[in-house]
């Protein structure tokens, strides 16, 4: 009978022991309602935990747990007036005059170091967000606020330059209040590299514990949080190279939650695991489009030889079967937008008039414009110039690359030659900013209001900024200005917005392809999961793991 030599037996025993130890979780002692640990897998990583200088979604997700706003959106997502806004640092507010808003801070609010949160912190925060040296990405969103002053240690006054429907939203939504006593000495030009940004001290429901670059970030609940102790004791963000890897980690059981499952296939896989995961659909904040450059590439003073022609753009729009493309790429995880808007916008109206998908009409228009296939090569031409253009796409987006190929094929059937320029995001960004493209597939992530996004991307105000295709129409802009400033009723503002969007749709500066519908997945043991579409984890402090669903990993003490 074969026997093992002593050394081999020893090696085998050591290996077995190692595996046993590795497989054993340490039993912990936490019991009750405040023991949960949530591991969130994510494809991004914050650059710095200072909300004034970063608008990355993942930075927002983390800093929302560390720093409070004065008030925040309710689940309805309303941005007009102050209806449904939820008090956070401010326990109440009132309007002194139509352009003067007074907030009364909650006296129970404390920074992690024990100091009270004061009106001076709010004024300091406004000063930081609007300082050109700090160069906050939110600076332009605060342009209608003339001043923020203190009346006493718990009363702060916002004065606006003019009256408009989203004054309250602008006052509370963009700024997370920062501790002036800890940040006052940081030179304004060096805010982005301040040490505070890697070990922040906040006033929110969670406290910073550790940030391991490239790997994870951990927060622990503040058991004394004045708005109620968070049920989940620990939040851990696990950073992965991209969102697909994050989903893989969730499905493999290495994480408890992901913000978005990205593809229909992932949704099917994750949501099919009903014993372990729950899926939560919510409105997405992104919309994507094929945008035409209305100016000559690299020379914004001249019109584009093709896309300067409105009729040609309209014909191209009518060529594309947006519904079929969307079904192919997203399945049910997106909608065809009725204009330049994400599903978050309250102006979303499926009845908005758009150009139809009508390939016969598109073909007639092209022929009428003189674009015919005179040499029988399958590509329309005019004056010996083929009807051809290049489509700029970033390689970092699988969705956009997929769309590009499908669009290329749809245009080919109409006799239009589209060549794809697939470049990495840095090059895409550089070329787009310089106007060096014929057409591009772009995506915008929007905040909940159309007021800033549409103006920046589709009016003259966005030239040199986000209006890459340099679309302009004075009639459209007049209506946008009227809708933004309308203080009548929300219904009236919505009608004005719709009229504006219909003008834009008729001009076809872009083909609006998709507006995302997100699906988050969270481990089944987590209860009371509520997701606010504009910031999916904003309400995580109210999520909980009931005592009878706790696992050893939730209970473990460290």
């Amino acid at each position: 009978m074969p026997t093992m030599r002593p050394t081999r037996r020893l090696t085998a025993a050591a290996l077995a022991g190692l595996l046993l130890v590795a497989g054993c979780a340490r039993k912990g002692g936490c019991t009750g309602d405040y023991c949960g640990t949530l591991v969130i897998a994510t494809g991004g990583e914050p650059d710095v935990l200072l909300p004034a200088v970063s608008d990355r979604a993942i930075t927002r997700d983390v800093t929302d747990q560390l720093f409070l706003k004065l008030a925040d959106l309710g689940l309805s997502g309303n941005t007009v007036g102050d209806e449904d806004f939820q008090p956070l640092l401010a326990e109440r507010w009132e309007w002194d005059t139509p352009t003067t808003l007074v907030f009364h801070l909650d006296p129970r609010a404390r920074w992690e170091d024990g100091r009270a949160v004061t009106a001076a912190d709010v004024a300091f925060t406004y000063d930081i967000y609007t300082d050109s040296l700090v160069s906050s990405p939110f600076r332009s969103a605060l342009r209608h606020i003339a001043a923020v002053t203190t009346r006493d240690s718990l009363t702060v006054v916002f004065r606006f330059r003019q009256r408009y429907p989203e004054m309250f939203f602008d006052a509370v939504y963009h700024m997370r209040i920062l501790p002036s006593h800890l940040l006052r000495e940081v030179p304004r030009s060096q805010w982005r590299s301040a040490a505070f940004g890697r070990a922040p001290v906040g006033d929110g429901p969670y406290r910073f514990v550790a940030w391991r670059a490239g790997e994870s970030l951990e927060l622990s609940a503040d058991s004394t949080f004045f708005l109620g102790r968070p049920h989940l004791r620990r939040l851990i963000w696990r950073f992965t190279p991209d969102q697909q890897v994050a989903v893989t980690q969730l499905i493999a059981g290495d994480a408890d939650a992901v913000e978005v499952l990205v593809t229909p296939d992932n949704v099917q896989r994750a949501c099919a695991d009903a014993a372990r995961l729950s899926c939560y659909p919510y409105k997405g904040s992104a919309y994507g489009y094929l945008g035409f450059n209305l100016a000559a590439p690299g020379d914004s003073t001249k019109p584009h030889p093709l896309f300067g022609d409105r009729e040609l753009r309209r014909a191209l729009f009518m060529t594309v079967d947006r519904g079929a493309l969307l079904h192919n790429v997203f399945g049910d995880l997106a909608k065809v937008p009725p204009g330049p808007m994400s599903q978050l916008y309250w102006i979303w109206d499926p009845e908005t008039r758009e150009l139809p998908h009508d390939s016969a009409r598109a073909a007639r228009t092209l022929t009428r414009l003189g674009w015919t296939d005179s040499d029988g090569d399958g590509i329309r031409d005019r004056d010996a110039h083929p009807l051809a253009f290049r489509l700029l796409v970033p390689t970092t987006s699988a969705v956009r690359r997929q769309y590009a190929r499908l669009l290329q094929e749809q245009f080919r059937t109409m006799g239009i030659d589209v060549q794809l320029d697939e470049v990495d995001f840095s090059v895409f960004n550089e070329r787009v900013r310089g106007g060096r493209f014929d057409a591009l597939i772009n995506t915008w992530n929007t905040d909940p209001t159309p007021s800033s996004g549409i103006s920046q991307s589709w009016t003259r105000a966005g030239f040199g900024r986000s209006n890459y295709g340099r679309y302009e129409n004075p009639a459209f802009e007049r209506l946008v200005d009227r809708a933004v400033a309308s203080v009548a009723s929300r219904a009236e503002a919505k009608r004005t917005w719709r009229a504006a969007i219909e003008i834009l749709n008729q001009d076809a500066p872009a083909i609006f392809l998709f507006a995302t519908e997100n699906v988050a997945a969270v481990h089944k043991r987590v209860a009371d999961v509520r997701i606010r579409p504009d910031a999916w984890s904003a309400l995580v402090r109210t999520w909980r793991i009931p005592a009878d669903r706790l696992t050893d990993r939730d209970r473990v003490e460290r």
Binding site: L18, L19, V21, A22, A25, V39, G43, G44, E45, D47, V48, D55, R56, A57, I58, S132, S135, P137, R139, S140, S189, S193, G197, R198, A210, A213, G214, E215, S216, E218, R234, R238, F239, T240, P241, V245, T248, Q249, I251, A252, G253, D254, P394, T396, S397, V423, D424, F425, S426, V427, N429, E430, R431, V432, R433, N445, G464, R465, R553, V556
Partner: protein, 324 residues
Amino acid sequence: MAAWLVRRLAASIAIVWAVVTLTFVIVHLAHGSPCGQGDGRPVSPETCAALIRRFALDRPIGTQYVKYLGALLRGDLGESLALHRPVADALAEALPNTLTLALTALILDFALGVALGIYQAARERRFGDIALGNAALFVNSMPTFWLGLVLLLLLAQWLRLFPVGGLRDLVLCPRLDSLPCLADFAWHLTLPALTLGLVGAAGTARYQRAALLEVVRQDFVRTARAKGLPERRVLLVHALRNALLPLITLFGLTFPFLLTGAVLVETVFAWPGMGRLAVTAILQRDYPVVTAAALIASVMVVLGNLLADALYGVADPRIRVRAT
């Protein structure tokens, strides 16, 4: 010996300088702007302008280079454009992870490769040799990232024998301060190290087999056999030492391969090392991090080759004599 060492060190510094200079020029001349965010969105024109002003990216490349070299000589690697922190801090966190991965893979590569090579040489042209030779060729032909994906799919996702990525169990082992946590770390390290090590081991086995077969036909081995020494002793004691010289050359070549391979493997296995840091930095045009990563990698390669040269002297005294 001292003169040789000085000559080698001077050559090494020149190589590192050349690599750094080339990297600096290439990344600065490459198309693309650092004004994009990690999550694929552009920053505002104002923020972009502030970034360019702050890091003097609007200056001529020559001016930037001189400034960079001056800082480098003072030991300052600069500040990351995207991470908003000193590059040295970012590298200090990532480098140990990459070295752990690369050294584990190196040990696996040579331990497995040498063992397989010896086994094959001892059974020349028999079934075991032929089967292992073909298997080694197959594995050696695989791209590292592809093997990583296959192992990930098979052993982590389907069979659930290993974690799908990361460095550790974030809940139970936030620090490596206990035996269970060290074991957990080893468990997380297994697949990425196996991916890197297996491909190398397949190549090493082929080298080792060829080297050993060449040595066993020499007179001193025949003499050892004629003296009646057991075959195992002939192979492992007399022949193997003389067959190790080509492996030392291979060691010098393997180290750079492991470092470059780690770039892909770290991405596949979400391993927070220098490779992942460098890839992200390249995509974001984070010039200081890219240049610093190239600097560190070139220093590693040069050190690996120096070590290989020193090992020649240990393995073959004749080389040591010539070097002096």
